[in-house]
Amino acid sequence: MHKEFIPSAFLGAALALTLALSGLSHAQMTDYEENPRLGMEAHISGITGHAAAAETNYRRYCTGCHGDLGDGEGENAQWIDPKPRNFTLGQFKCRSTPTGTLPTDEDLYTTIGRGLTNSNMPQWLPLTTHEKVDLVAYVKHFSPHFATEKPGTPINVPPEPEVTADRIKAGQAVFQRLECWKCHGVTGRGNGPSAETLTDNQNRPIKPFDFHDVTRFKCGTTDQDLYKIFMTGLDGTPMPSFADSVKPDEAWNLVFYLRTLQPMNSREKQIAKQLGLKPINPNAAPAGAAPQPQAEQQQPLQQQPQPQQQQPPPSR
């Protein structure tokens, strides 16, 4: 055997196999590649993301949970709680826009980088800005809504007032009046009387947020993030928007009260301790129409928020 035969044969075989395997690997991509919406774009801080450029990264990072078709039916979905988002519905929890509207590109971009606490969605921080913007475009391409509708206008978050004892007490009153306790429990542990009955927009069981467990909220860590959560709602979950039933000042009071339920030693918690603040008494709750959890069924996406239906119980 010629001494160079083996390397040459190896290289030749490797090249042939490479071409064959490349074809096989490519063939494993599913027909989502044929989606005409792959021309979808996203725009963040002067960077334009292209859905077509994110195919590989979506397959690398996202398919396992969200599925090739973006329907939330990846191979891991059956094991995950809460379930992965179904992108085809165009409904997203974390938005700066009113309930029932599409999120902005910035909202989706922030969610990818921040992750969703208490879920399997990690922080994809190490991805480059370009990669994340491309992925935003790719996420959008799954839903026809993004092709025909504009995102909602981000809500206005007024300046945060100074936290005071009166505001915390007022926030507790809001917590009782809105019947937040029905889902989140009187102490905010996510164990209210309705907790076991809640379902998401695909009729899957979903648990309310437990304020005592974690320092971060589903859609952020700041007071502004918390303010936005109950003023925009978490679409696709029973947590509604209270934008039409709570004034901005009341919303800030509620923010301050909810901070007292969290595990970290915050200014709000110190004040609550000085006040000797006790959990609410549900029996003393003010009379009001019974709230109705929303989004228990898949509903068509609407451009404008629905008129508020009383005070639905919040969930995560």
Binding site: A53, R60, T117, V214
Partner: protein, 450 residues
């Protein structure tokens, strides 16, 4: 000189035989978090930036579900990895006995056949939120086990990603990790630079590629773009029982990542490895007394590296300058091998053996299920231990590796790859007849972890 070359050849063959290092790719993590291998690996076992952040956070995604209490009680964080394979090993010149057993001939040899790699049993994860661990019983292909890794790490102390302390036996903080290299063959399975020892040198304690026993501080920015680490460890190359008592080494490493437009994340770094090792021991009846090692002499390796992305094309580059104290490489009068004890004067012309090396390892990730790779590695002696005694190029290395890995399945449960690789090493003046010694490997195997 002939004896030296025979030793070099034996060492080379020995190193080649043991060269495939235990590699880390841990489907147990994928199962825990429901993520595919590709989420953390460019192509497993090579980590991507997300995987590095996961590792640097103490095997945590920082999603408040990292503590084991969140796992189903039946979850067991264990992964096995082994690679059944066929491989061919060819060497151009090997000393043979001729004419009544006198070892004065040389032939080329070719061996091939079906074989097994060693087995890695990787168990790692979190003991509690911000307390991570890794235990890796690892065997060679005969089933002889040792502990490749065994450490506990306190992560994010005081809620700071800059305060992480690891204690035990661990891999040095090499961003271009030999434990996660794509290559598997006998020749190409290791980075030669991570294990390089100059001709006649017996200092085996400066091997960056070997896991070490010690303590490490590691810190990183929240997004892991900036990474710093410092390790202090015993100068025993990871071996137990205080073989080199009272001698320590240190390893410093810093790196910074940055985006380059849409090309991807680029990273550059630098490292410094400095240490001491003994040159002799007290003896009793001619037998070294354990723990009585004396006469520490120093060694160092330093360099810089980069990991560059151009879309699907990744190009890691690594440079090293190394130097050992001449006591490690010079045979004292009346002895048959080094080192020269520190209390024995060196002969005239003694100098620190010094070398420079570089490797470049471009990879083309066709898609998450197919990666093509190549490596060129070059080591050049810039100064031999004894001026004029050794050929100036003795110990120089050229290594070329080429191959691909195809992952027919890609799930969050197991890793499975078809691996095909060719590698060739040329060692200058190392053959029995003082010409170049060349060895090559062809490796075909199924690499799987579950």
């Amino acid at each position: 000189m002939v004896s030296l070359r025979r030793n070099l050849l034996r060492s080379a063959i020995f190193l080649l035989a043991l060269s495939v290092p235990p590699a880390h790719a841990i489907p147990a993590f994928a199962r825990k978090y429901g993520l595919r291998c590709s989420a953390c690996h460019v192509a497993w076992p090579v980590l991507n930036d997300f995987g590095w952040r996961f590792k640097d956070n103490g095997y945590q995604l920082m999603n408040d579900r990292d503590a084991p209490i969140w796992q189903h009680p039946s979850y067991w964080p264990v992964t096995f990895r082994i690679t059944p394979n066929w491989h061919l090993e060819k060497t151009n010149k090997v000393s043979v006995d001729v004419g009544g057993g006198v070892n004065n001939g040389q032939v080329g040899t070719t061996q091939h056949g079906f074989d097994l790699s060693g087995l890695d049993i990787l168990t790692g994860g979190t003991l509690e939120k911000n307390i991570s661990f890794l235990l890796t019983p690892s065997s060679d292909n005969t089933g002889a086990f040792h502990f490749e890794s065994a450490w506990v790490r306190l992560d994010n102390l005081f809620h700071s990603p800059w305060l992480n302390f690891r204690f035990g036996k661990f891999e040095l903080d090499n961003f271009i990790s030999e434990k996660r290299t794509l290559t598997l063959s006998a020749v190409g399975g290791i980075y030669q630079l991570y294990h390089f020892v100059p001709p006649n040198d017996v200092n085996t304690f400066g091997q960056i590629g070997d896991n070490q026993l010690g303590l490490e501080w590691q810190g990183h920015s929240f997004n892991d773009r900036t990474r710093l680490s410092a390790a202090l460890f015993s100068s025993n190359d990871g071996n137990v029982n205080l073989q080199n008592a009272n001698a320590y080494s240190g390893f410093l490493h810093i790196s910074e990542a940055f985006d380059l437009g849409g090309l991807g994340q680029q990273r550059v770094g630098a490292y410094y490895f400095i240490g001491q090792a003994p040159t002799y021991s007290l003896t009793s009846a001619g037998v070294p007394i354990p723990g009585s090692s004396l006469g520490n002499k120093s060694f160092n390796r330093e360099g810089f590296w980069g990991d560059f992305f151009i879309y699907k094309f990744e190009v890691p580059v690594y440079f090293q300058h190394g130097s050992d104290n001449p006591h490690f490489a010079i045979t004292p009068p009346g002895a048959t091998s080094p080192p020269t004890p520190a209390n024995v004067p060196l002969p005239p012309g003694a100098r620190a053996p010094t070398w420079n090396g570089v490797f470049i390892e471009p990879r083309f990730v066709v898609n998450p299920q197919l990666v093509l790779f190549h490596r060129t590695e070059i080591v050049r002696m810039s100064q031999q231990a004894l001026h004029g005694f050794f050929p100036s190029n003795l110990g120089d290395l050229n290594v070329y590796t080429l191959g691909y890995r195809w992952y027919p399945i890609m799930t969050s449960r197991v890793g499975f790859a078809f691996h095909n690789e060719y590698s060739r090493i040329m060692q200058r003046s190392a053959a029995p007849d003082s010409t170049d010694l060349t060895s090559s490997s062809i490796f075909v195997g199924f690499d799987f972890a579950f």
